[in-house]
Each structure stands twice: as structure tokens, then as C-alpha cells.
């Protein structure tokens, strides 16, 4: 689950890159870059949840 979350994060990065390549309007660019960051945040949350579930299994 942690790996899955971390694998999602580059999608957010590529979304940010695509925003500055494909759009010229600053509003569109900002919107898409913010969406890219949101995707990264979701990936991070999934990774953290994976960490928490692993913790439950490994407690002494």
C-alpha cells in the first residue's frame, strides 16, 4: 500500500509539468498545478495509511 501511494505521486508531478507545457493562461496553469499537488498529497496519504497498517501488524 505504501508503494502504491508513492507510485501515485509522480502522476501529480507530471500533471504539473503538463500544465505549464499545455496551457498559456495563468489561471489554467495554477489550477492544474494545484491539482497535481493534490494528487501528490493523496499519494502521500495512501503511503501514510500503508505505514500505519504495517505498524499495527508489527507492534511488539
Amino acid at each position: 500500500m505504501k508503494f502504491a501511494g508513492l507510485m501515485v505521486m509522480p502522476a501529480g508531478f507530471f500533471l504539473s509539468l503538463a500544465a505549464i507545457l499545455l496551457f498559456s493562461s495563468s489561471i489554467q496553469r495554477v489550477t492544474f498545478v494545484v491539482c497535481g499537488l493534490a494528487v501528490e498529497a493523496m499519494g502521500l496519504i495512501v503511503a501514510i495509511r500503508g505505514h500505519l497498517s504495517n505498524r499495527g501488524e508489527g507492534r511488539p
Partner: protein, 432 residues
């Protein structure tokens, strides 16, 4: 190859001498952070922590000079570039391995290289502090060999070496491109995110998160070291930020005093905020969290000291000082992340906040977007790559000491002797 290299900027003898002098003071940052890491760890791992810092720095610097410097270097007209949508994306330098011919390059480029060597040493030692009390020396050395070859040089080139992040302004009209004069992203965010990867892979210290109840408090063994380290780091940070603004922003010497004042104000604002937050939360101020707040203010200043007004520097510091103790608490209590040095909050979170603050307070339009793209790169590309890289290293060279070694303490386990041989060793109450 990029057919339109940036013209070299004239660098007077006075500016060279000033930059070199500042760079010679900058290792005090490394000394300060090292002594803070020792103080925040346990007494039975103190010698291993400080020796590990020296091992990590040595390995990182050798690996950087052998390979990383070639990729980080900006050789006008000879960098590796991709052409996408009619724009050149400069993604790596194309210098010579093992610093061949470096004595023949201009003095300015040699200063850049010296700054990057100090930066890579600091970036590599940040995860070492987070792995305190369970990370093995060989694993620390492996991390320190990997970061300066496979991650840092690319980031340094993108941000400082005229790479694609620096060219966001020229290519896409995004302000002056991604700005990070003092290494808040290239050093601190990289180090802090690497610390997160190390902590995730190595796991918590034994007994930190028991089956029932809250996490066990494992306070640092010497708060005096921690607080003295903060003062030592300040001296280095003033020089570091001034050197960075000369080298990466081409700031004139007359603007350096404001950079130093902003560095101090940011740290001061952060300390006052952390002091107040911990006083309100716990009834009394917490010394180690106040130290974390002070450092977070300094990390934030690395991004913006040269680019904001004094009032804005205080504001950025205050915000860093508020979020740092809260994040330390969140990571430990809610997210079960055992980070003895608080590096994820202090270096990663405060570094990313500083980079965002540059965009928020910048007068140029488009600067905020450039900063967001840089932050997105650090979070979305660097963190997964670093985690993957460290996972592979962990398979070959396990990060974590065996349980018996951890119980004995890393000093006895790895070095055969303790840091404080005349002290009586007490029973550890955390093992329940």
C-alpha cells in the same frame, strides 16, 4: 546540447573573496546540526551518531566529487537537454568525472562547486539524524554514497545550474524561475524527505510504539548540546545564506546585510512562536521543540532571506515556528513516525514552506507558480525516487541494527565502547 547558453556573469575579486570567506564559515551549519542530532539521540548511541556524521559527510563529498559534480555542473552550451514543444529542458550537466580539468575553470565555478559540496554533505547527514539509535553505520554510508550521485546532482543542476526549474522564467514566463538561494529545497527538503524514507524503511526504535497506550517518550539525552547546536548553526546559517544569495541570485554585496538580518529575524520569529505554542500546549516551554522551531526558522530563511522584507521574514519564521512543534506531535502520536531529530518537520516541511513563501511574497507575477512547480517536483518526483532507491539499498545492506545491538546501544554494538564510559548505565524504562 543547448545552443543558447547563458552568458557568464562578471565576478569581481572582492565578490570572490567575500564569497570564499562566507563559504569557509558555512560548515558551522553542519557542526550545529550534527551536535543537535547527538543531543536528541540517546546517550548509548552518542559516539556512533557523531562518528556516523563524519562518515556520512566523507562518503557524500567523495561520491559527489567523483561523479555527482559532473552531473550538477553547468558547462555553458554543453549540458544534457531534451527538446519538448520547442523548448529546451536542461536536465543534467555534462562535466568531467573525478573533477578532471576543474583547476582550469573560472573561480566562480569553483565557488559553486564548493557550495554544492557543503550542501551535499548537509543533505546526506539529515536522514542520518532521523535514523538515530537503530540505523547502522554501513547503511548510513550507503545512503551518503547514493544521494550525491543519483539524486542531489540533478536537483542542484535543475535549481542552481541553469536547469529546467531555473529556466521556468525564461521558457514559460514564470517569474524568475524556481528560486532557492540557500538550499531550502535542494538541501533541506531533499534531506527531510530522505529522512522520511529512512524512518519508514528502518521502522521505529524498539519500544517506541507499544501495543497498548500512547507512544513512549524517548527524550534526547542532552538538551544543552541541542541548544548550543542551535547557536552554532545560526553562525553558519548567516554565512550560508549570504553566500547562496551571491552565488545563485547574483546579489550585490550591499544587499547582504538585509539577507543576514532576515535570517536572524526568521529564526527569532520561529523560536518565539515555538516557545509560545509549547507553553500553551504543555504548560511549560519544551526545550527540544523550541530548538526544532529555531532550526525550522533558519531552514525557512534559506529559501527566502534574500528575497523578502524583514517583516515578511518574521512572518515566515512565525508560521514555521507554529507548524513545526505541531507536526512533530502529529508525526509521533498520530502517524507513528519515529523521527528522533524531527528532521521531517524541521527540514522537509519548513523547507517546503519557505519555498512557497518566496512565491507568496514575490513581487513578480508567475513566481508563485514557479515555486509550486518546484515543490511539486520535490514531493512528486524526489520522494518516490529516494524511497525506491533506499528500499533497494536496504535489501543489499540492511538499515536496521539487530534487536540485541539496539538494546545494547549503537555505541557498544558498532564501536565497542560508549561515549560516556564513566557513567552508570541505567535500566531502560522504555522496554515494557
Amino acid at each position: 546540447m543547448n545552443p543558447n547558453p547563458a552568458p557568464p556573469i562578471a565576478f569581481s575579486d572582492a565578490a570572490f573573496a567575500l564569497s570564499l570567506g562566507l563559504l569557509l564559515l558555512s560548515p558551522l551549519v553542519i557542526a550545529g546540526v550534527a551536535i543537535i542530532n547527538v543531543g536528541l539521540g540517546r546517550s548509548r548511541s552518542a559516539a556512533q551518531s557523531l562518528l556516523g556524521t563524519l562518515v556520512v559527510i566523507s562518503t557524500a563529498v567523495i561520491a559527489f566529487f567523483a561523479v555527482g559534480a559532473a552531473l550538477a555542473e553547468s558547462s555553458a552550451g554543453f549540458d544534457h537537454t531534451l527538446r519538448i514543444s520547442g523548448k529546451f529542458w536542461d536536465w543534467a550537466g555534462a562535466g568531467a568525472l573525478f573533477l578532471r580539468g576543474e583547476s582550469a575553470v573560472p573561480a566562480r565555478a569553483q565557488l559553486d562547486l564548493f557550495f554544492e559540496a557543503l550542501a551535499v554533505a548537509l543533505a546526506a547527514m539529515i536522514p542520518w539524524g532521523s535514523g538515530a539509535d537503530r540505523l547502522r553505520l554501513p547503511a548510513g554510508a550507503a545512503i551518503a554514497a547514493a544521494l550525491p550521485v543519483l539524486v542531489f546532482p540533478f536537483l542542484a543542476h535543475w535549481i542552481w545550474g541553469g536547469g529546467w526549474l531555473a529556466q521556468l522564467g525564461a521558457n514559460f514566463g514564470l517569474g524568475a524561475g524556481f528560486l532557492d538561494a540557500g538550499g531550502a529545497g535542494c538541501v533541506h527538503a531533499l534531506g527531510g524527505l530522505s529522512a522520511l524514507a529512512v524512518v519508514w524503511i528502518a521502522g521505529p526504535r524498539k519500544g517506541k510504539f507499544p501495543r497498548e497506550g500512547l507512544s513512549t517518550a524517548m527524550p534526547g539525552h542532552n538538551v544543552v548540546y541541542v541548544l548550543f547546536g542551535c547557536l552554532l548553526a545560526l553562525a553558519g546559517w548567516l554565512a550560508w545564506n549570504m553566500a547562496g544569495s551571491i552565488l545563485w541570485l547574483n546579489a550585490s554585496p550591499t544587499t547582504l546585510v538585509i539577507t543576514a538580518i532576515n535570517t536572524l529575524l526568521s529564526a527569532a520569529g520561529a523560536l518565539v512562536a515555538a516557545f509560545s505554542v509549547t507553553r500553551i500546549r504543555f504548560g511549560k516551554p519544551d526545550a527540544s521543540l523550541c530548538a526544532n522551531g529555531w532550526l525550522a526558522g533558519l531552514v525557512t530563511s534559506s529559501a527566502c532571506a534574500a528575497l523578502v522584507t524583514p517583516l515578511e521574514a518574521v512572518a515566515t519564521g512565525v508560521i514555521a515556528g507554529i507548524i513545526t512543534p505541531l507536526l512533530v506531535e502529529l508525526f509521533e502520536l498520530a502517524l507513528s513516525i519515529d523521527d528522533p531529530a524531527g528532521a521531517i518537520s524541521v527540514h522537509a516541511a519548513a523547507g517546503l514552506w519557505g519555498l512557497a513563501a518566496v512565491g507568496i511574497f514575490a513581487p513578480r507575477s508567475g513566481q508563485f507558480l514557479a515555486q509550486l512547480v518546484g515543490i511539486s517536483t520535490l514531493l512528486g518526483l524526489v520522494l518516490p525516487v529516494v524511497y525506491l532507491l533506499f528500499s533497494l539499498i536496504d535489501r543489499v545492506m540492511p538499515f536496521r541494527a539487530d534487536p540485541d545491538g539496539e538494546r545494547l546501544g549503537m555505541d557498544l554494538h558498532e564501536l565497542g565502547g560508549g561515549a560516556y564510559p564513566e557513567f552508570v548505565i541505567h535500566r531502560d524504562e522504555s522496554y515494557r
